[in-house]
Amino acid sequence: MKGFEFFEPTTLAEASRLFAQEHAQLLAGGTDLVIGMKALTETPQSVISLQKIPGLDGITTEGDGISIGAMTKVREVELSADIQNHHTALAEGASEIGSIQIRNLATIGGNIAHASPAADTVAGLLVADAQVDIASADGERSVAIDELFTGPGQTVLAPGEIITRFRLPSPASGSHYIKHKIREVMDLAFIGVAAAVNLDNGTITDARIGLAAVAPTPIRATEAENLLRGNELTAELLQQAGEAAAAAASPISDLRCSAEHRKEMVDVLTRRTLQEAVARA
C-alpha cells in the first residue's frame, strides 16, 4: 500500500472540501478501497474516512418510507426487520455479499458508490425506487437510483459529492432477489435480478424489475414492467416479461460466463423472481 494522508472530518462540508481535491478517496467500510490500495489499483494521496460524521449511520422509518444512512453496514441492512418485511429483495441482496466479516465492514453507501454493475444491493434498491441523497460543500441534491450510474465504476457524482442516505418510498407488497452464482456464499454475481410487485385482486398494479451484472450499469427492465402493469400474471405474460427483460440486457462475456448464458438466464431468473414476488404480495 502506498502512503497517504488520513483525514477523519466530523462534518459533511469538511469531508466534501477534502474529497473535492485531486487524488482523494472516501473511506467507508474499506472492503473495496483498502483492497484496491493493496493491489495498487487505488493510489490516493488522501483518504477521507466518513466514520466520524454524525447522522450517516442507521435505518429509520418515516411514515411508510424507510431511510438508510450511507454508512449503515450491509449486515444491518440484511438483519433489519423493517427491510426484511418491506423491502425483502434488498435484505436478500445484502445477505449475498461476501462473508459475515465483509458484511460487518461493508456499507450500503460504499456498495453503491463503487458503482459495480454487479453490486448485490443495487437490484433491491432499484425495485424499491430508492432516492439517493447527495451532499457537498455547496448543498444537497437527490437523484433516483436508476439515474445514478453512468458506466462501470462511474456515477453522476461530481467531485466533492458524497452519498449520505437512501430513501425508500412506500414499499411494494412483495419483492424478491435472485443472485445467479456458483458458490453458495463468497461469490460474485453472474447476474442479479430483483422484482417487486403490487397486486390488487390478482391484478398487477405496479411492477419493477432490476437487473445487475448484465449491462454497463445496473438497469430497470422497463419494457417488461410495462407489459406486467394492469394485468394478471398468466404463464404467457410471465414468458413475455422474461423475454422483454432479456432483451433489455446487454451483457458481456467474461471469465464468469458468456453473454449468451447471461441473456438466457435473465429471462429465466426474471420469471422466477416475479413468481416469488407475486407469491409474497
Binding site: F4, E5, G30, S99, I100, I102
Partner: protein, 158 residues
C-alpha cells in the same frame, strides 16, 4: 520516514497506545507494532478470514481495517480468549476434535466461532457452515472444525 499517528484503543480489555502509519492495517499493527501474532495474514484481501478479530463486537477481517481507524474502539483477538490457567471452551473443543492441521487458519476460525456463539448460542450445523464461509482452511479440515464448534456450542450453552 512517513509521519505516524498516535492511536489509543482497547485490546482484549486493556487500553493500548501505539504509533502507526496511515497505510498500516489493523492486522499489521497487531502483529508488527504490538507483537500480537495470533491473527494471521493469509490472503491479505478479505477472502480467507485468517486475520479475523472482533472489532466493537463485530467479526471483521483485520487486514481490511486501517490501524488509524481504530481510535477509541475495542478489539478482541485470540490472545484475549483464554483465562491464564484455562482455555476457552471453543479452544478445548478444537483440541478435543483435532480441528486443526497446520494451524494457520485456527485463530481466525476460533474468533469467528466465538462471534457466532456470542450471537447464536445454539446454531445448527448449517448455520455454522454458513457463518464460517469467510474462513478458509487450506488443509480442508472443515468437518472437524464444524464438529468442534457444535461441541463448543453444547458446552457453552449447557
Amino acid at each position: 520516514m512517513a509521519r505516524k499517528s498516535h492511536v489509543q484503543t482497547t485490546i482484549n480489555g486493556e487500553t493500548v497506545e501505539f504509533l502507526c502509519e496511515s497505510r498500516q492495517s489493523l492486522l499489521e499493527v497487531l502483529r508488527d507494532e504490538l507483537y500480537l501474532t495470533g491473527a494471521k495474514e493469509g490472503c491479505n484481501n478479505g477472502n480467507c478470514g485468517a486475520c479475523s478479530v472482533i472489532l466493537d463486537g463485530r467479526l471483521v477481517n483485520s487486514c481490511l481495517v486501517l490501524g488509524v481507524e481504530t481510535e477509541g474502539k475495542s478489539v478482541e483477538t485470540i490472545e484475549g480468549l483464554a483465562d491464564p490457567d484455562k482455555l476457552h471452551p471453543i479452544q478445548d473443543a478444537f483440541l478435543e476434535n483435532a480441528a486443526l492441521q497446520c494451524g494457520i487458519c485456527t485463530p481466525g476460525f476460533i474468533m469467528s466461532a466465538k462471534a457466532l456463539l456470542d450471537s447464536n448460542p445454539n446454531p445448527t450445523e448449517h448455520e455454522i457452515r454458513y457463518w464460517l464461509a469467510g474462513n478458509l482452511c487450506r488443509c480442508t479440515g472443515y468437518d472437524k472444525i464444524v464438529k468442534a464448534v457444535m461441541d463448543a456450542a453444547k458446552e457453552t450453552s449447557a
